[in-house]
Subunit: 884 residues, 2 copies
C-alpha cells in the first residue's frame, strides 16, 4: 500500500498496514486501538490516520501543506484498493468516516463527519429502484449534508433539526414511515439550505469533501467546548488530535444491519458477561446520542430489563457470537475492559473503535480482582490500577429501602451511588444552586456535551431518555456520580418541573436518586452506607500485604472501635476523651470542680468525676483490647464547661446549692483566672494541674480494671496543644509520675506518651519535643488553618478562587498543602528523627483519609495515619498504592 512508510500517515485494516508499535500520542487512543485491532486480525474497516503532528499544520494553517496533501491523496488511493471501492463511483462508491482521535478520549467534544464522499449522483446510483436501498442512500446523503453543514460551514443544528421534524410530522411523527422519495427530497432540501445559508453549494467532488472534512475535524480541537473540557480535565492545549479516515460500514443499510456498543464485561457491576446495546438498522450515532432508546445486546440483559424486545443475541446469533469472541480477544490484549463500537452491515460484523471502558467504581474493583485472579494482571497491578478516588466514591451511600417511602419512578441504573439533592432542570440552575453550596440533582430529558458544566456542578443526574451507554450515563460513570437514565418521569423544561407517580418536583425541591437500583424518590430519602463486598475485601487484603504505612482509626466509642476493627484498622489512632467530659453528668461535675467553693468541694467532685470517666473509659478500653489505642487528653478550655445562658446558670446554681447571685460571684472571681479560650490542652494542664490529674486517675483506674479481666489495649497518651520541648517534658514527667504511682509495673512500663503537633511552633520545635516523646501525632487540620490563615468554613471558596487562578490544586483542608504545610511537616519529621531515630510519627487529621495526602505522608515515611472508620478502605488502598 502506498505511503506505508510515511510518518505523517498510518494505515490499518488492509494489507500493508503500517508496522511498529502504535504510538498513542501520535495516533490518538482511538487510532491506536484501530491499529491494534487490525493487527489482531479483527474485522476493522480499512483506513488511515493523520497523526497529531501532521494534523497540527491542518489545524493551524487551515490547509494541508503540499507534501501532506500528496500523502493524503496517496493514502486514499491505497484505501480504494484495500476496500475495493472508489470515491464517487456509482457502482461501488467508497464512503468515508472522518473522526477525531486524541491521546486522551474527549467524548463528544470534537467533530465527526460520516458518509463523506457521497453526492446526489452517487446517492441516486446507490438507490437504484429499490425502496430499501433508496431510503439508505438518500439518508446517507442527508446525514452527510447535515454533518458537513454544521462541522465545515458552521451552521447551527436547529436549522436541520427543524427541517427533520417538519418532515417527520408530515409522516405522522415516525421517521420509519418516511419513504425513499421523502428522504431524497429532504436530503436535497438540506443541500439547498447549505447553499442558501452560506452562499456556496456543498461540493460534489468527494476528494474536496474529504479534505474539508479532515480540516474541520482537525480544527475542532480548538472549539470552545473542547477547550473548556480540557481545562476541566487538565489536558494540555497543545497536544492536538489525530484525524482518522476510515471506510464507512453501514449499520443502517437494511434490516440485516445494526449498530451498537458492547463492553467486554458489565461496566456497571464488573461481572464477566458481555454487556451492550444496539439498534437494528441504525448508525452508531443513533445509539450513542440517546434519541432512540437502544435494545439490550444479550438475552440475559433483556431478561434483567424485563422488556419485551429482541436482543442482538436472538436477532443475529452469529454476529453476536463473533462479537463476543472478538471482545475477549481485545480485552486480553489491552488487559482492561473494552468498550467497542460495532456495526453489522448486511449480516457482516465490523469493529469500528475500541477503548478502555469507563467502569463504575464497583465494576472497577471487581474487574481488577477477577483479572488478577484470572492471571491477566498481577496483584500489585490491580492495586496500582485502583484509583482511590474510585474506591472513595464506591463507598457512597445507598438508599435505605426499608426506611424510605416507595420510589416515585424507576429508570436504568446507569451509575451507582445514591444522593439527595435539589432539583435543577438546566445547567444555569445547577450552577446557581452550586454557588449557594447546595447539593444538586440535574434533571434533563437527555444530556449532551453542552450539559457537561451542569453535570460537574451536580451530585447526581437523572434523565428521562437514553440508555446505559448514553452521554449522561458515560459522563456520570466517569465522575463516579450517581445517574439514573430512561426513568419514567415527565419533564417540563419550560416550567422547570417534573412529574412522576402524580408527584411534581419543582426546581429547588429535594429529590433522591439511587444509581445502583435505578430508583427515584421524592424528598430526602434515608441513605445507608455500603458494605465492603467480596471483591473489594480481596483487593484491600492485597493492599494490606503491600503497604508500609500503618492505618488506624479515629474512634470515640466502643462501637467506633468495633467498626474500625471490622474494617481492619490496626488500632485506634485518636480517641478523644472530651466526649466523656461533655455528657450531662461529666459536664456537671466539671462545673462543680471549676466552681468549687473550697478544696474539699473540689476534691469530692474530682472523686466522682474520676469514677464516672473511668467507668465510661472501661468499655472503650475493653473494645480496644490488645491493639494500640491513642487516647488524647482533654483539649477544651474550661470556659466550655461553664453555663452559657440564664437557664443553664440556674441549673448550675441549683446543682452547686447556691443562689444565682452567688454563682455570678464565683464566675466573676474566676474571670481573672484561667478560663480563657486559648488556655487549653498543655497550657491548661500547666495552669490547672488538677485537670490533668483527674483525667490520669480515671484513665489509669480504667486501664487497671480492664487488665484485671483480659488483655488491655496498648494504651498511648497524647498531649494536645504542645508547643515546646521543655513544656512537653514537664507534662510528661507528671504523667509518668502518676503512672508510677497508680499502675502495676507491666502496664506502666509500656505507656508511651506523645505530643500532638498542631501548632506551627510545635512543628518547628519537633526535635526538642521528640527528645522527650515516644511519638508525635500531626493534627494537619489545625496546622493548615494556622499556616494558611484560613478558617475551614471559608477554605472551599477561597481555595476555589486559587484553583481558578491556577495557584492551588484544591481545598487545602481536603488535600494536604504539600508545598506549604507539607514542607513544614517534612521539616518536623526530619528534625524529629535526627533527634530521636526511633520516634513514631503519625497523622490524625482529616487529611489521613485523603489519597493524595496519604501518598504525601507515605513519602514522609510516617509510621501510621488515623482516619474515620468509614474512610479506612480508602486509606488502606492509598497507603498500598504509595508503596507500589
Amino acid at each position: 500500500m502506498a505511503g506505508a512508510t510515511d510518518s505523517a500517515i498510518w494505515f490499518f485494516g488492509g494489507d500493508g498496514a503500517t508496522e511498529g508499535p502504535p504510538p498513542e500520542e501520535l495516533l490518538g487512543g482511538k487510532g491506536a486501538g484501530l491499529v491494534r485491532m487490525s493487527r489482531l486480525g479483527l474485522p476493522v474497516p480499512p483506513g488511515f490516520i493523520i497523526t497529531t503532528e501532521a494534523a497540527r499544520a491542518l489545524r493551524e494553517d487551515g490547509a494541508p501543506p503540499p507534501e501532506l496533501e500528496r500523502a493524503i491523496d496517496a493514502a486514499l488511493d491505497g484505501l480504494q484498493a484495500a476496500s475495493g471501492r472508489r470515491l464517487g463511483d456509482a457502482q461501488r462508491p467508497l464512503l468515508l468516516a472522518v473522526r477525531s482521535g486524541a491521546a486522551q478520549s474527549m467524548p463528544g467534544m470534537m467533530e465527526t463527519l460520516l458518509d463523506v464522499g457521497i453526492n446526489p449522483a452517487t446517492a441516486a446510483a446507490m438507490a437504484g429502484d429499490d425502496e430499501t436501498d433508496g431510503r439508505f442512500a438518500w439518508d446517507c446523503l442527508r446525514r452527510f449534508a447535515q454533518g458537513y453543514g454544521q462541522a465545515v460551514r458552521g451552521l447551527p443544528a436547529h436549522l436541520f433539526d427543524e427541517e427533520w421534524e417538519t418532515w417527520c410530522e408530515r409522516a405522522g411523527g415516525d421517521d420509519a414511515a418516511l419513504s425513499a422519495d421523502d428522504l431524497r427530497d429532504m436530503a436535497l432540501r438540506y443541500l439547498e439550505l447549505i447553499h442558501r445559508e452560506t452562499g456556496r453549494p456543498l461540493p460534489s467532488d468527494p476528494r474536496r469533501q474529504l479534505k474539508e472534512a479532515i480540516i474541520a475535524v482537525a480544527r475542532s480541537w480548538e472549539s470552545e467546548k473542547a477547550r473548556a473540557w480540557r481545562a476541566l480535565h487538565d489536558v494540555a492545549d497543545d497536544v492536538g488530535t489525530a484525524v482518522i479516515v476510515q471506510a464507512m460500514v453501514f449499520g443502517n443499510r437494511d434490516a440485516a444491519s445494526a449498530s451498537g456498543v458492547a463492553f467486554s464485561r458489565d461496566p456497571s457491576t464488573g461481572q464477566q458477561v458481555m454487556f451492550g446495546e444496539y439498534l437494528p438498522a441504525a448508525q452508531g450515532i443513533d445509539v450513542v446520542e440517546g434519541l432512540r432508546t437502544p435494545l439490550p445486546i444479550s438475552e440475559a440483559m433483556r431478561r434483567a430489563s424485563g422488556l419485551d424486545v429482541t436482543p442482538l443475541e436472538r436477532l443475529m446469533p452469529d454476529a453476536f457470537a463473533e462479537l463476543r469472541a472478538h471482545l475477549r480477544q481485545v480485552e486480553a490484549h489491552h488487559q482492561a475492559v473494552q468498550e467497542v463500537e460495532f456495526a453489522i452491515e448486511r449480516g457482516r460484523l465490523w469493529l469500528l473503535q475500541t477503548r478502555d471502558a469507563r467502569l463504575s467504581a464497583a465494576a472497577t474493583v471487581r474487574v481488577l480482582r477477577d483479572m488478577a485472579a484470572e492471571g491477566l494482571i498481577g496483584r500489585r497491578d490491580a492495586i496500582a490500577r485502583l484509583d482511590p478516588v474510585t474506591l472513595e466514591r464506591l463507598l457512597h451511600a445507598r438508599v435505605d429501602e426499608e426506611r424510605a417511602a416507595p420510589p416515585i419512578a424507576r429508570g436504568l441504573p446507569a451509575s451507582p451511588g445514591a444522593v439527595c439533592g435539589q432539583a435543577a432542570f438546566s445547567v444555569g440552575e445547577a450552577l446557581r444552586l452550586k454557588v449557594l453550596e447546595r447539593d444538586v440533582v440535574l434533571i434533563r430529558p437527555e444530556t449532551s456535551p453542552d450539559d457537561v458544566r451542569g453535570i460537574h456542578a451536580a451530585r447526581g443526574v437523572l434523565t428521562s431518555r437514553g440508555g446505559m451507554t448514553s452521554h449522561a450515563a458515560v459522563i456520570a460513570r466517569g465522575l463516579n456520580m450517581p445517574c439514573v437514565t430512561a426513568a419514567d418521569i415527565a419533564i417540563d423544561e419550560d416550567r422547570g418541573e417534573m412529574t412522576a407517580s402524580g408527584v411534581t418536583i419543582r426546581r429547588g425541591d429535594w429529590i433522591t436518586i439511587d444509581g445502583a437500583s435505578g430508583r427515584v424518590y421524592a424528598g430526602r430519602a434515608p441513605l445507608r452506607p455500603v458494605n465492603i463486598d467480596a471483591p473489594l475485601a480481596t483487593l484491600l487484603g492485597w493492599a494490606d500485604e503491600v503497604r508500609r504505612l500503618r492505618v488506624r482509626a479515629n474512634a470515640d466509642t466502643a462501637g467506633d472501635i468495633a467498626a474500625a476493627r471490622d474494617l481492619k484498622a490496626e488500632g485506634v489512632g485518636l480517641l478523644r476523651i472530651e466526649w466523656m467530659f461533655l455528657d450531662d453528668d461529666g459536664a456537671a461535675l466539671m462545673q462543680r470542680m471549676i466552681l468549687a467553693a473550697d478544696a474539699d468541694e473540689r476534691q469530692s467532685a474530682a472523686a466522682r468525676l474520676r469514677r464516672l470517666i473511668a467507668g465510661q473509659l472501661e468499655g472503650v478500653l475493653r473494645a480496644g483490647a490488645a491493639r494500640p489505642l491513642t487516647l488524647r487528653l482533654l483539649d477544651l478550655p474550661l470556659a466550655a464547661f461553664l453555663p452559657a445562658d440564664a437557664r443553664s446558670e440556674e441549673r448550675c446554681a441549683a446543682a452547686l446549692g447556691v443562689t444565682v447571685a452567688a454563682l455570678h460571684e464565683r464566675l466573676e472571681r474566676l474571670q481573672v483566672e484561667s478560663l480563657r479560650l486559648g488556655l487549653r490542652g498543655a497550657r491548661l494542664y500547666l495552669d490547672q494541674p488538677w485537670v490533668l490529674q483527674t483525667q490520669l486517675a480515671a484513665i489509669f483506674d480504667a486501664l487497671a480494671a480492664v487488665a484485671d479481666h483480659g488483655p488491655p489495649p496498648e494504651l498511648e497518651i497524647l498531649v494536645p496543644m504542645v508547643m515546646g520541648g521543655r513544656e512537653f517534658a514537664q507534662l510528661r514527667g507528671r504523667i509518668d509520675a502518676t503512672a508510677t504511682r497508680m499502675l502495676p509495673d507491666a502496664l506502666r512500663d509500656s505507656l508511651p506518651v506523645g505530643a500532638m503537633i498542631e501548632l506551627p511552633r510545635a512543628a518547628i520545635r519537633a526535635a526538642a519535643i521528640a527528645a522527650h516523646a515516644d511519638f508525635l501525632s500531626f493534627g494537619t487540620n489545625d496546622l493548615t488553618r494556622a499556616a494558611l490563615g484560613l478558617r475551614r468554613e471559608e477554605a472551599a471558596e477561597i481555595a476555589g478562587l486559587y484553583v481558578e487562578n491556577a495557584l492551588m490544586n484544591g481545598d487545602p483542608f481536603m488535600t494536604l498543602d504539600e508545598h506549604g504545610v507539607g514542607a513544614l511537616m517534612r521539616y518536623a519529621c526530619g528534625t524529629a528523627r535526627r533527634a530521636r531515630p526511633d520516634i513514631v510519627l503519625a497523622v490524625c487529621g482529616d487529611h489521613a483519609a485523603d489519597p493524595a495526602s496519604i501518598a504525601a505522608f507515605a513519602a514522609m515515611d510516617m509510621d501510621y495515619i488515623s482516619c474515620a472508620p468509614p474512610r479506612l478502605p480508602v486509606a488502606r488502598l492509598a497507603a498500598a498504592r504509595a508503596a507500589v
Copy 2:
C-alpha cells in the same frame, strides 16, 4: 600575714594581703571591690574573705571542715595583728563585721552581722565612765544582740523592735535622748530575750560568735527571700556567696564620727559631681534603712534640696575632700560610677565597700557619653554598656506641667520617669491590681526587701520616708521605674489611703508621680514624651556609625514621617494605606463601589475614590521625599466597609439613593460573593481585582504629582497576606503592568514590589516568593499569633504561666520567640537568600522595637527593621549593640 596563700581565704587591707587578680566568682563583688580598693592604697579596714567555694561547705554542712576552721583561726590572728586590736580585749577590742558577698549584688537579700566580738564585759570596758563612750559601747552590744538573735537564732525582728520602741517612747520618742544607762539596760534586755526565747544565751566567746555569724551569713544564701530574688533575676542557685569578715569602724562612735554613702557622680543625672548622703554619729545601716532621713553630703546638694541642714562638706571638710579624691580614683579604676559606703570614726575616713552604682537611665547615658569624651572608655564600649532597656525606660513620659493641675505633694526625685497608676498601699493590693492588668503605683511609708514583689508588680513607687539612696530609690532605679521618696504625704496603712494638700487618695484611686521632678499629682495627670537630650543624641550618633541593620519607622501620616525623620529614621518601613480608606469619605466611596448596582456606578465611585486617596497620599509621599517609603496595600476585608448597624445602613442607603430594603437586597446578593473576613490582602485582590487597581491608580497619580514638584520618595509597594510564589508573581505582574501604563520611565524603573511574610506558609514558601519579590517584610506579630496559636490579648497571661514554669522567657508578642518564630524566620531568610541573593529582608512587626528581638534580627542579617517613631532611639541603639 598567716594563711595568705590559702586559697579558701583572701586577705585585704593590711600588709601581706593576698596577691593576684581578685576573682569575683570566688570573692563576690563586694569582696573583690575591697581587695581592689586596698590595692589602690585606699583606707580600707583590714579583713578577709572566705571564698564562695569554701563557704559552700559552711552552707551545706552547717559547720566549717577542720582545715577551714584552722584557716579561719589563722586569718583571725592575722587580722588582730593588722588592726592592732584583739578579740575580747578590754582595752582595744577587735569588733568585726560579717557580710555576705555574691558575684552578683543581691541588695538586702542576705544576712549581715555587725559588732561581732562584743560581750557585756567588753562593752563595759569600752564604755568606761564616759557617757558618749558608754552610749556607743552599749549600743554596739545592743545592735550585735539583735543581729545575732535574728540571723543566728532566727528570732523575729519585731521582738527587738517592740522593745526598742518601748524604750524610745519612754525617752519621749527620740532615741538620741536615750542615756548610756538606758542603752546598757536595753542591750542586757536583748540578751535576756535571746536566752529566754531560744533557751540558750548569746555566747560571750568572740571566736564562737564569729563562727556562728560566718555560718549564718553563708546559709542566708538559701533563705526564701534570697531564692525568690534569684529566681526573679535569673541567678543560678548554686553560685553561692562569699563571707567577708572585716574589722568594724564606727561611724556612730561620737560626734566626730559619721556614716554615709557616696557616688562618684550623681546617679540620677549623671553629672560629674560627687553625690551622697550621710548621717552624723550613725552606722551605715541607719543611712541605708531609711529610718532616719540622711543629710546631703555636699553644699551643692544641700542648696538644691533647700533644706537648712549641715552637709558633710561643711561638717568635716577634710574627710569630705579625701572622700572626693578617693571616689575619683576608684571610679577611674573601675571605669564606672562607684557607690561607696564610708564611715568616719573620730575624724578618720574609712571606705567600707564599693560597687558599680545603679544609675538612672539618664545618668547612665550621660556618664557613658562623658566617660567616652574623657577618654576613660571607648565609644564602642559606651554603646555596649548602654543597655537598651535602660534607654527604653529613659524614653518614658514626663508630666506635662503646663497642662497638669498643681501637684498635691513634693518629694525627692529618686528615679526619673512619670507614671499614672492606681494606688496600692500594700504588696497584696499591688499584686491584686496587677492581676487585673492595672497600672499600679505602690505607696508605702518606706520599703524593705519584703516589698520587692510589690515593687515589681508596680509601675511606680511613692514613699513618705527614705532618701535618694533608700531601699525604694535603689530598687526603683534598678528597675528604671519612676520613684518619689520622702514626699510630704500622710499615709494611713490601715485604712489604705494617703492625704496630701487636703486631697485623700484611697486604694484604687488614680495618682501620678513624676520621678524626675519629685512631684505627685492626684488623678491622671497629662504626660508628655521626653526629648532626646544632647548626651543621648551623641550616643545615638555613635550607635548609627556602628550598626549594620538599618532602622526605618512605621508611619501613617506626614506628621509621623516628620517625627521619624527627626529621630533619624532611614525612611518609612511601613505606611498602611488603610487609614485613607477608613476615613468618612473613603469608607463611603468604598461602600458605593462594593454595593454598586452596575459597572457605571462602580466606575464613577472608583474615579472619585482614586482622586480622594491620591490627594491624601500626595502629602504623605511629599513628606517622605528622597527616602525609601514602603507603602502597604489595603489589608482589610471588604466586610470592614459595610454598614454594621441600623443607623449606618440608613446613611449608606441614603448615600446610594436607594431604600434600606433595596440595600438589604444588595447586601444579600453580595453575601454569596466575597466579603468574608478571611478574604483580604492578596486574596481579595485575586477575587476583586478592582480593589488593587483603584489603589494603584491613586498611588501612581500621587507619585507622579509629587515628582512634578520635587524629589519623590523611593516608593516600594508591599503586598499583604501573601502565601505563595505564584500568587505573588501574579499580583506583582498586575502591579508592574499598571506601573508601566501609568508611570513615567524614571519612576517605574525603580519601583520595588515586596511581600509581607505574616503567614507561616509564606515563611515556608519564602524562596518561591523571593524569586519574584524585591523584598520581604516579616510581620512578626501575625507570625507569632499563628505559630503559637495565641491571641495577643491573652498572651501576657499565658506567657506569665510559662515564664513561671521556666518554659518561656517572656511575652512572645513583646520579645521574639527565638526558638519557634525565630527558627521559622531563619529558615525563611536562608531559603529566600539562596533563591535570590539580593533580596532585601525586613521586619515591620512590633518586635522591631524590642532590643532582644532586634539582636535576633541582626543575627539573621536582616537589612532593616521598622518600628514606631517613639521607639526609634531604642531600635537604633539595639541595632548598634548587635554589631558591637
